[in-house]
C-alpha cells in the first residue's frame, strides 16, 4: 500500500476529506444499482405469484366464462414481440 | 429494409440532424459567452474588453512570478504561446499554482491590458504521473540546459 499507516491513509496528505466522501458516495451509487433492481424484481415476482394463485381459485363455469377463457388462451402462448400486431414482416 | 421502416429511419436521422443544426447555430451565436475565459492571444489582440469583468487564463510563464515584499500582492505573466499578459493578484495563490501550469482568473483589464485578477483558479493539464517521474523529467531538462 502507498500509505504507511492508518492515520496517513485517512488523512491522505490533507486530501482525505475530499477522497473518502467521494468513495462513500461511489459505494452508495453502486449499492443503489445492486439493490434497486433486486427489490423491483422481488416485488414483481411476488405480484405475479399472487395473481397466479388468485386466478387458480376454481369458479363455477358460466356461458360468459367460456368467451373470456378463450381470449386468455390466445395470450398464454408467447406474446408478440412488437408493439402493433401488423408490424412483423 | 421495408419502405415503412426506411421512412422512419430517415425521419429519425432528419430529427437528430435538425436538432444538431439548431444547437450548432445556437452555440455559434453564443460562442463568446461559452468560452470560459479569454486566452492571452485574445487579450493582446484586443478581443477582450477593458474595464469589464471578464475571465482570463493562460499558462504561467516560468520565472515571471514576482512577490511584493510588503504584502500578498503578486505579479506574473501568462502565455498561450501566441500572446503574453501580465497578471496582478492580491491574495493567497491556489494550492496548485505552479510555473508552467495554467490559471484562470476573474477580474478586469486595466488600460494597459494588464489583468487585475480578483479571483484566481488553478487549471491543470491532463497529465498524471508520480512525483519520481516528474523529478526525473526535471533533472533531464536541467542537464540538457547545462550542456
Amino acid at each position: 500500500m502507498y500509505f504507511e499507516n492508518f492515520a496517513s491513509l485517512v488523512n491522505m496528505g490533507g486530501h482525505g476529506v475530499y477522497v473518502w466522501p467521494t468513495y462513500g458516495l461511489g459505494l452508495l451509487v453502486i449499492l443503489y444499482n445492486i439493490f434497486s433492481p433486486l427489490m423491483a424484481r422481488k416485488k414483481i415476482v411476488a405480484q405475479i405469484k399472487r395473481q397466479a394463485r388468485a386466478a387458480s381459485v376454481p369458479k363455477a363455469p358460466s356461458s360468459r366464462d367460456r368467451t373470456i377463457k378463450s381470449k386468455q388462451q390466445v395470450s398464454t402462448a408467447e406474446s408478440s414481440r412488437t408493439m402493433n400486431e401488423g408490424e412483423v414482416e | 429494409m421495408n419502405p415503412v421502416r426506411k421512412q422512419r429511419l430517415l425521419l429519425i436521422l432528419l430529427l437528430v440532424a435538425g436538432v444538431g443544426v439548431a444547437v450548432a447555430l445556437a452555440l455559434f451565436a453564443l460562442k463568446e459567452n461559452i468560452n470560459h475565459y479569454y486566452s492571452p492571444a485574445q487579450i493582446v489582440s484586443g478581443e477582450a474588453p477593458i474595464g469589464q469583468k471578464i475571465r482570463g487564463g493562460g499558462v504561467v510563464v516560468p520565472g515571471s512570478l514576482k512577490r511584493d515584499p510588503g504584502g500578498l500582492k503578486v505579479t506574473f505573466k501568462v502565455s498561450d504561446g501566441e500572446g503574453e499578459v501580465e497578471v496582478e493578484y492580491t491574495g493567497i495563490l491556489p494550492d496548485l499554482f505552479r510555473e508552467g501550469q495554467g490559471i484562470v482568473g476573474t477580474g478586469k483589464l486595466d488600460k494597459n491590458r494588464r489583468f487585475i485578477a480578483e479571483e484566481l483558479l488553478a487549471k491543470h493539464d491532463e497529465n498524471y504521473m508520480p512525483p519520481e517521474v516528474q523529478n526525473a523529467i526535471d533533472k533531464a531538462h536541467k542537464s540538457e540546459g547545462n550542456q
Binding site: M1, Y2, M12, G13, G14, H15, G16, Y18, V19, T22, Y23, L25, G26, V29, I30, Y32, N33, P37, L38, A40, R41, I44, V45, I48, A52, Q72, T76, E78, R81, T82, M83, N84, E89 | R8, I12, L15, V19, V23, K31, I34, N35, H36, Y38, D95, L96, V104, L121, A122, K123, H124, D125, E126, N127, Y128, M129, P130, P131, V133, Q134, N135
Partner: protein, 259 residues
C-alpha cells in the same frame, strides 16, 4: 442468384427476430448473469482498491487525484449509456421492438446514477485542485444538461399512461438529446474550458503513468460490466412484468425464479 438473396434475407430475419424475443433474452441472460456478476465484482474491487490504496500520488495533485478512479469511469458511462439509449430508441421507433423499449427504460436509472456520481465526484475533486466546486464551463454545463435529460426521460415515462406512447415519447426525447453527447466529448477542444483535455485518447498514447493507468482501465471496464449486470437484472424484471400473461413467465415464476 435470387434463391441466395432469399436465404440471406431469411437468415437475417431469423437472427433479428430471435434478438427481439423477450423469452430468448430472458433465458440467455439468465445463463450469463452469474458469471458477469462475479467478473464485475472482482474487477470493481480490484480496480478501485488498487487505485485508491496502491498507486503513487500525482506529482501535481497529490492524493486528490485518486477520485479519478470513480470520476472517469462514471463520466464515460454516463455518455455511453445515453448513446445506447438513443440506439434503443431508434430501434423502438423504426422496428417497434418491445425489447428495445424495455432496454431504454432499464438503462435510464443506471445512467442517471452514474451521471450524478460523475458530477458530484468532479465537484468534490475540483475544490482542492481548481479551487472551486463548480464553474459554468462547457464540459461541466453539458454534463449537467445530460443529467437533466436523464431525469426528463424518466419523468416522461412516468407521466404517460399508454405503453406505446411512453415508448415513442421516451425514444424521441432520447434521440433529441443525443446531440449533447458530441458536445460533451469535444467541449474541451472547441472552447476554453476550466476542465482539462482528455487523458485517454483514441489515437495517441495516454498521458498517464502506467502504474496509474492500469487501475483506471480496470475500473472503467469494471463499471461497463457492472452496468451490464444491473441492466440485465432490470430487463429481466421488466420482461416478467410485461409478459406476465404468457405461459412461459408463469412457469418461470412457479419454478422459483430467483434472478
Amino acid at each position: 442468384m435470387i434463391w441466395y438473396a432469399d436465404i440471406r434475407k431469411t437468415m437475417n430475419w431469423t437472427f433479428f427476430h430471435k434478438l427481439g424475443s423477450p423469452k430468448w433474452f430472458y433465458e440467455i441472460s439468465g445463463k450469463w448473469l452469474p458469471w458477469l456478476a462475479i467478473l464485475a465484482a472482482l474487477m470493481m474491487v480490484t480496480g478501485l482498491t488498487w487505485g485508491l490504496l496502491f498507486t503513487p500520488p500525482d506529482y501535481l495533485q497529490g492524493n486528490s487525484y485518486r477520485i479519478i478512479f470513480l470520476h472517469v469511469p462514471t463520466a464515460f458511462l454516463a455518455s455511453a449509456i445515453y448513446v445506447s439509449m438513443a440506439i434503443a430508441g431508434a430501434v423502438t421507433l423504426i422496428w417497434r421492438i418491445k425489447l428495445a423499449d424495455m432496454a431504454l427504460k432499464s438503462m435510464a436509472p443506471i445512467g442517471t446514477s452514474f451521471c450524478f456520481l460523475a458530477l458530484i465526484t468532479g465537484a468534490i475533486w475540483g475544490k482542492p485542485t481548481w479551487g472551486t466546486w463548480w464553474v459554468w464551463d462547457a464540459r461541466l454545463t453539458s454534463m449537467l444538461i445530460l443529467l437533466f435529460l436523464y431525469f426528463g426521460v424518466i419523468a416522461l415515462r412516468g407521466a404517460i399512461r399508454s405503453a406505446n406512447t411512453q415508448a415513442r415519447a421516451c425514444a424521441i426525447l432520447t434521440l433529441v438529446g443525443v446531440v449533447n453527447i458530441p458536445i460533451i466529448k469535444f467541449s474541451v477542444q472547441w472552447w476554453n474550458t476550466l476542465h482539462q483535455g482528455s487523458t485517454l485518447k483514441l489515437t495517441e498514447k495516454p498521458s498517464m503513468a502506467p502504474e496509474m493507468l492500469w487501475p483506471l482501465l480496470i475500473s472503467i471496464a469494471a463499471f461497463y460490466l457492472f452496468f451490464t449486470v444491473a441492466l440485465i437484472i432490470r430487463m429481466r424484471t421488466e420482461i416478467l412484468d410485461r409478459e406476465r400473461r404468457t405461459k412461459w413467465v408463469r412457469n418461470a415464476v412457479e419454478a422459483g425464479a430467483r434472478s
